[in-house]
């Protein structure tokens, strides 16, 4: 009789996270931009860090005709260009030997049957035991095709003791009804526990640090409510325009492209209650509660609380840039917003009457994503007596910088040295790069590894996505039809339309200076 050992006794003390089992990763849309820029560099970096499971295989699925060799060469070029780590020849050679290419139309069932045979063979050759991770990196118009054929070919069903999971890239629909339809299609093939809706913002180190900051420190959480917090600002600004994404962006706009997913996710992390534990569902339950508590906006409320703008010609870094309507493949009369600012209220006990100001825009003076927690003023009894009515500059502000220059800073009041009592704001600053020399992994590395290990914490659940759309749809609906709130224009290189300033200034507040 032998003593029963843990699954892998050698892992004790080596890893604090679940290690993925050997599996095959199938990428649909393998010749696309995301595969080249993000997925393969992320997989290579995981290999270089020794985090990939033994026997892992990568199968690229796409429509173009090409050999394994050509596919590998293309991926190698991409990895050299986009990987955060330098490519090592020997390592690449071994990693590339796990990559193969599978040509098929997305709607051709026979192609999936051939894929199934190929994966079965890989299981035999590499001991992957029928574990499959399908990454839907093709255009959203192909999702239904792919998911239906995965089901009809039997690939969506895992053999006993194995698993089959699907990672779905954004956009998860374009409104509530398309999202519900897409979710229905996904769940016809994969159950919710095997569905991983990716939002790369959640894979960022600083986004993950929000929960640590709030719940691992005793300092902040007691103050994290309407008694002490005046308002919250969430900003995502970009210097870039729409680059070559006119086709997608014209149908989306800033609200659908950024707010529905990334910024509402950040808002949830800031506003949620402490989860009962760190399991994926406990955390996602709390996030859904926040989304359900968002005060819905009727048409007149949208006019009062939402500003939408579009960039006009201007200057970025001293160079002239064209306006949105002059961009290639954009309609000259386009009403698509490239900027949006919102005042959001959360109707729950913790956040009653605390506005969350959310703004996102393209062609702004500098790029960055930050969350500012603005605390209420200290009583104006001793030092703040002559400052009544002037809020900006005297409040304590806790800033969480998501990107770039990741870190946390706290602004506080301090006496300027001298005989007289003069007070000036000073900043305490924690910077990831300064304090931790180690480079953060790319968001896709963390997320791919989590999906392989079956950890859905950093992925959006069905009800999260649908609740977010429910909120966004009301704003979108107010923007169409008669008496719609106007689209405002702002010069490229400015901080957005003046109406956005008026939105917050009307409440006696001001946007943070980034």
């Amino acid at each position: 009789m032998t003593e029963k050992l843990p699954v892998n006794p050698l892992r004790e003390g080596l890893a604090s996270r679940a290690m993925p089992e050997p599996c095959s990763v199938v990428i649909f849309g393998a010749t696309g931009d995301l595969t080249h820029r993000k997925l393969v560099p992320a997989l290579y970096n995981l290999a270089a860090d020794g985090d990939l499971p033994p026997g892992l295989s990568v199968v690229g699925f796409a429509r173009r005709d090409k050999t394994d060799e050509v596919f590998r060469t293309e991926l190698e070029e991409a990895a050299r260009k986009f990987s955060r780590q330098t490519i090592n020849e020997d390592l690449w050679k071994v990693f590339a030997s796990s990559i193969s290419y599978h040509r098929s139309e997305f709607g051709e069932l026979e192609g999936y049957r051939r894929l199934s045979e190929k994966l079965n063979q890989l299981d035999k050759d590499r001991g992957t035991r029928g574990n499959r991770l399908y990454y839907l990196s093709a255009g959203p118009d192909q999702f239904e095709n792919i998911l239906t054929n995965l089901k009809n070919s039997g690939l969506a069903e895992a053999s006993p003791g194995s698993w089959a999971r699907a990672i779905v890239e954004k956009p998860f629909g374009t409104d509530l009804s398309t999202a519900q339809h897409l979710n229905g299609v996904v769940q016809h093939s994969f159950d919710e526990s095997s569905t991983f809706r990716i939002d790369h913002f959640l894979g960022k180190e600083t986004a993950q640090n929000i929960m640590v900051l709030r719940f691992a420190n005793s300092l902040f959480e007691h103050l994290w409510n309407e008694r002490y917090i005046d308002h919250v600002q969430i900003t995502a600004s970009e210097q870039l325009g729409i680059e070559n994404r006119a086709g997608y962006y014209e149908g989306a706009g800033a609200l659908r492209d950024m707010v529905q997913n990334h910024l509402l996710q950040l808002l949830c992390l800031v506003a949620m209650e402490p989860p009962t534990d760190l399991s994926a569902d406990s955390i996602r339950d709390e996030k859904v509660k926040v989304l359900r508590s968002l005060r819905r906006m009727r048409r007149e409320e949208v006019t009062r609380s939402v500003v939408r703008g579009q960039y006009a010609a201007g200057s970025i870094n001293g160079k002239p840039v064209v306006g949105y309507r002059e961009e290639k493949n954009v309609k000259p009369e386009s009403m698509t917003e490239t900027y949006v600012a919102l005042r959001v209220l959360i109707d729950n006990w913790r956040w009653a009457d605390v506005p969350f100001y959310v703004r996102v825009g393209k062609r702004l003076p500098k790029g960055g994503t930050e969350i500012g927690i603005h605390f209420k003023n200290a009583p104006g009894v001793l030092f703040n007596r002559d400052k009544s009515g002037v809020r900006d500059g005297s409040q304590n502000v806790l800033v969480i910088r998501i990107q770039p220059d990741e870190g946390v800073s706290l602004r506080m009041q301090s006496k300027v040295p001298g005989a007289s009592v003069r007070i000036q704001p000073v900043k305490m600053d924690f910077n990831y790069g300064t304090s931790f020399g180690k480079a953060s992994p790319e968001a896709y590395e963390r997320l791919l590894l989590d999906a392989m290990a079956g950890d859905a914490t950093l992925f959006a659940r069905r009800d999260e996505v649908e609740e977010a759309w429910r909120f966004i749809d009301e704003i979108e609906e107010a923007w169409v039809g008669e008496n719609q709130p106007g689209l405002t224009f702002y010069p490229s290189g400015s901080w957005g339309p003046t109406e956005a300033d008026q939105l917050i200034e009307g409440d006696g507040r001001a946007w943070r200076r980034l």
Partner: protein
């Protein structure tokens, strides 16, 4: 800026004025440099060239770990008691670009004097509210001062450099027992094994290996002649994790047996010039696992019905990279402490 950059050799300062001198120095630099510190990192050595060697080492370590460095170079045999001090800074450009981040360093040369002097010098120069990591280079002649020990959060040492590891570990254990310390023992010799352990663990992740784990009958380890203690630690870890019990030992060959089942496992250690641990081979019924160095990587191979090869990071082999690894990974090293019990048995001479 120019002044602080010329400080690589260190600026001599009065021992009583170290903190004031550092403050003046940073005030002169204004906003050009950022001083950062997450830990107090003290390094104790009795080697003749300790200050210059450790200054170079800390120059590398501070690239990724901002800390206050306190170098203690002791010469206990000196007839006259004297303490000299120098201050300097290790400045590095951050990944983000232009900003330079600096870790300050205070170096002491301690002639004569005993544990009291070491303790006092160290305690009076700590950056407040930060953890204290102490790296003890070389061997222990006596127990470590009890009060000093109680302040240390992580205690670094390298059992590889010990001539009599069993005896040294006995002194260390006595030090641990003498104080109600929460200090974590960080053996760089154990850290030397981390990437090999990860590579082996990864092979054991494979379902075929987990199914056949109890059929392991032989382990062959090739090690550099300087690294016998390292090879023994590796063997001890495997024995502990797989629940092997020692049945018989010589210096280079051991016989273990699986707990309960009693099936034998032969372990052979072979000294060969090369990396600290050059190759590990594990024989199972119907297959073999192998980990060996390949350039800057560890090549892992699983040979049975199929042939799987992977390349995994081997990590650095220098002292600076071992310390770096230890600082990055942290942990309480409970697995080490468990393996150590077997290692101490194997380290003992007959």
């Amino acid at each position: 800026m120019a002044e602080i950059q010329n400080l690589a050799r260190g600026m001599p300062v009065d021992v009583a004025q170290v903190n004031r001198s550092l403050k003046t120095l940073w005030e002169q630099e204004g906003n050009v440099l950022t001083k950062a510190s997450l830990i107090n990192f003290a390094v104790y050595s009795e080697a003749a060239d300790a200050l210059s060697v450790n200054t170079q080492l800390m120059e590398q370590i501070t690239r990724e770990h901002a800390c206050r460095v306190i170098l203690l170079a002791a010469n206990p045999a000196a007839s006259k008691e004297r303490v000299q001090a120098w201050i300097s800074a290790h400045c590095h450009v951050t990944r983000a670009g232009a900003r330079q981040v600096c870790s300050e360093q205070i170096a002491f040369l301690l002639d004569g004097g005993g544990p009291d002097v070491i303790r006092n010098i160290l305690f009076s120069h700590l950056d407040s509210d930060l953890p204290l990591y102490l790296w003890w280079q070389g061997e222990f002649s006596n127990r470590i001062d009890q009060q000093l020990w109680s302040w240390v959060d992580r205690f670094f040492f390298d059992s590889h450099s010990w001539r009599e590891p069993a005896q040294q570990m006995k002194i260390l254990r006595a030090s641990v027992a003498s104080a109600s310390s929460r200090s974590v023992l960080c053996d760089l010799n154990w850290r030397r094994l981390v990437h090999l352990r990860l590579a082996l663990a990864q092979l054991f992740d494979h379902p075929w290996v987990s199914r056949n784990i109890h059929t392991i009958r032989a382990l062959d380890v090739t090690y550099n002649p300087e690294n016998w203690t390292t090879a023994v630690l590796l063997t001890s870890w495997l024995a502990r994790q797989l629940r092997w019990e020692l049945a018989e030992k010589s210096d280079f060959e051991y016989r273990f047996q699986w707990a309960k089942a009693g099936a034998p496992v032969r372990v052979k250690l072979t000294a060969l010039p090369g990396p600290s641990i050059g190759q590990i081979k594990v024989q199972l019924a119907g297959g073999e696992l192998e980990v060996e160095w390949s350039g800057n990587f560890l090549a892992t191979t699983l040979k049975n019905a199929f042939y799987l090869k992977q390349m995994l990071p081997a990590g650095g082999t220098t002292l600076a990279s071992l310390v770096h690894d230890e600082l990055v990974r942290g942990g309480e090293h409970k697995t080490y402490l468990a393996a150590l019990k077997i290692a101490e048995e194997l380290w003992k001479s007959e």
